[in-house]
């Protein structure tokens, strides 16, 4: 029973790994505990989004990742 946390962009540099497997179910407080404090600080900022199972959450504190689901941490984007 595990969920996978995926780090993207600058958040990946903070952790030094692409992803991290953690016990499921995973909620918002569990996520904040599972990542390094530097990442947890970023997650609390409004400009950082979270996707669970391929959907961006409108309220990230409502996170509830089940077994096998992927939780992506999405810092501000820049394309083009």
């Amino acid at each position: 029973m595990s969920a996978r946390i995926v780090f993207l962009g600058p958040l990946r540099d903070l952790v030094g790994v692409d992803d991290l497997d953690v016990p499921a179910p995973l909620d918002w407080s569990g996520l904040l505990e599972a990542v390094p404090p530097s990442v947890a600080d970023q997650l609390k900022l409004e400009r950082v989004n979270i996707a669970c199972a391929g959907r961006v959450l409108s309220d990230k504190t409502a996170l509830c990742a089940q077994d096998g689901e992927e939780v992506a941490l999405l810092p501000p984007v820049s394309g083009g």
Binding site: G9, P10, R12, A72, L74, V77, S78, G79
Partner: protein, 152 residues
């Protein structure tokens, strides 16, 4: 005709533009934009994406442009991975009956790809890697297209 791709390798803009023209014989015009890595200072640019979100988001964006600007066809190609100076990063093109729709559609697509699509960009310069964040002007550009705006 809707051609939306994420590309891990380099591309030339000419073939997709020719394909768009062939697929839209009734269009009165085609507008396009090619974004490239600036030479000077930047050695290489890296674009990260997130598979479950990035391509579906680009497809939804292309659909919105098709509908909003009544396009006959649209091309949205975006690179991922490492890109060297001078190489194309992004190509958008729109075919429409009249010129204004295609020109505005290209502007709309680029504003959204810049600051509302799921990409993370960093540049390698003399002193190492630097993440690029959207500038304030990118957000202002995007806000022009809010659905209730007077424009278009």
């Amino acid at each position: 005709m809707r051609d939306v791709r994420l590309l891990a390798k380099g591309f030339s803009p000419a073939p997709p533009l020719a394909a768009l023209a062939r697929a839209c014989p009734d269009a009165g015009g085609i507008a396009s934009y090619t974004g490239k890595v600036r030479a000077g200072g930047v050695k290489v640019l890296e674009l990260q994406h997130y598979e479950p979100l990035t391509l579906p988001g680009m497809e939804a964006l292309a659909d919105r442009a098709m509908q909003r600007f009544e396009l006959d066809g649209v091309v949205v190609w975006h690179r991922t991975g490492h890109i060297r100076a001078g190489a194309p990063i992004v190509l958008v093109a729109a075919a429409s009956r009249h010129r204004r729709q295609s020109i505005e559609a290209v502007d709309f697509l680029m504003d959204h790809l810049k600051s509302a699509a799921w990409f993370w960009k960093r540049e390698k310069r003399e002193d190492g890697w630097h993440w690029i964040e959207p500038r304030a002007v990118d957000h202002t550009d995007l806000a022009r297209w809010k659905e209730n705006s007077a424009r278009v």
